[in-house]
Symmetry: C2
Subunit: 261 residues, 2 copies
């Protein structure tokens, strides 16, 4: 009788665990994003979501950190921070992010990329593989790169400048003959103001010592995997805290183009 009771409690415990884990995580084919790109462009750099929380939304993604302290790469469930000194750090789970896009990466398509492809050519290749531009894609490219040019951004102090002003003097990193992974997204045009329409890629080297926001590259050889996502979850700070005074009605397309390049 006592043994039976024990079994009951074990089963209840197991099922409760399943229940809780099922609800804490987000379904596949869902890109979850914190805050908006226009809030970031407007200088809203205070982190609102912890790395610990981000990992509940996915194992793959990109973003930045509290006070704009570097570029985020989330790969295979681990968060990497490429700071303005060019080095890669593993942030504490309590470190927060003001802007990040993540998903649980389950590739739908995979294909070999042509040697000597650059950023523009690879975008065209992915567009051929997933011609529907009105759907979201998470993109993972692993390969050897003849060249890889990235940037990072330094932590800012208040009053925060606009992002387009920060990136005027961004540190740029030129790498050669480097193996690593491109992590990023292709978003539909209609996300304008919310995320980056088109492609937005970050890079992390295989030895986790180099990386950043990609400006350009030339691939020697590599493979591309695409996870086509039809759900997009926007998570703002609760009650919109910290967003009260942002004018998010402006068209910041010009600022975004300056910042991305």
């Amino acid at each position: 009788m006592i043994n039976e009771m024990k079994k009951i409690f074990i089963r209840i415990g197991f099922l409760s665990l399943l229940f809780c884990s099922g609800c804490a995580t987000v379904a596949t084919n869902t890109i979850t994003q914190t805050s908006t790109i226009d809030a970031l462009l407007a200088g809203s750099y205070d982190g609102s979501v912890s790395c610990r929380q981000l990992l509940q939304y996915g194992d793959f993604g990109i973003g930045t950190f509290d006070r704009l302290d570097g570029e985020m790469i989330l790969l295979n469930g681990r968060i990497y921070q490429v700071k303005a000194d060019g080095a890669v750090y593993m942030p504490d789970p309590s470190v927060t992010s003001p802007f990040a896009s993540v998903c649980r990466f389950v590739p739908d398509n995979h294909f070999t990329l042509q040697s000597k492809s650059d950023y523009k050519m690879i975008q065209e290749t992915i567009d051929q593989a997933v011609p529907n531009k009105n759907i979201f894609c998470a993109v993972r490219i692993h390969g050897r790169f003849a060249s890889m040019k990235t940037r990072s951004v330094p932590a800012q102090t208040k009053p925060y400048p606009l992002l387009a002003d920060v990136t005027k003097n961004q540190p740029v990193f030129n790498m050669e003959s480097i193996q690593g992974t491109i992590v990023g997204f292709r978003c539909p045009d209609f996300v304008k103001g919310v995320n980056v329409p088109g492609y937005h890629f970050h890079f992390l080297s295989d030895d986790s010592t180099r990386g950043g926001h990609i400006l350009d590259f030339v691939l020697d050889e590599g493979n591309c995997e695409v996870d086509v996502c039809h759900r997009f979850l926007l998570v703002l700070p609760e009650g919109g805290k910290g967003m009260e005074h942002l004018d998010l009605s402006l068209d910041r397309t010009g600022e975004l183009q300056k910042v991305e390049k």
Copy 2:
């Protein structure tokens, strides 16, 4: 021993039920939307999500139906269809929608509205109650209306015309001294292209016989409840099916203004 086994199975069953229901539903403070307003403006009227599925995302909301067959009001977990003949129908759970916004309505604010308030004045009152325009609000107003002016739209046949062309000849319904509920949302400016920036209200009379997309009204007396939502889930058809050939890069603000008024 057999009784104990029975109990185990009962408990497993109960917890499994909890598990499944927990995952099928969406958290509070989350507005879930199917497709985009610009896809609808572009004439994408084929339903992609059933009423049955919509009810998993919430008990409150607005939208339209497959082939643009009327205005949707989702109130207290029931879906109502105001067709172009002005009558209100209860659609079968299998009927689909090409565009809808829903949430699980849990009000954060409630206040009494001033007598003789019109649509514009009530928007100002809600803006004073929730001044942060960068957050989503679900709005429920129950009251007695001196006048209520709504419209609906008739089901379309292929090739579908643009929404702005459909609404040129929309049937308009003028009601007087009518009790009922306004159901709708206030969305931030940055949803442009995805949903309607600002206010978007539908109406259903208390006796469920009249309603539609609100063009104007004058309130006699009523109460307003607001659910401030910081999460926004966009659900597109899987793989973006049916959206392949839509040009969603255009600025359709002008078309939207024609359609809403």
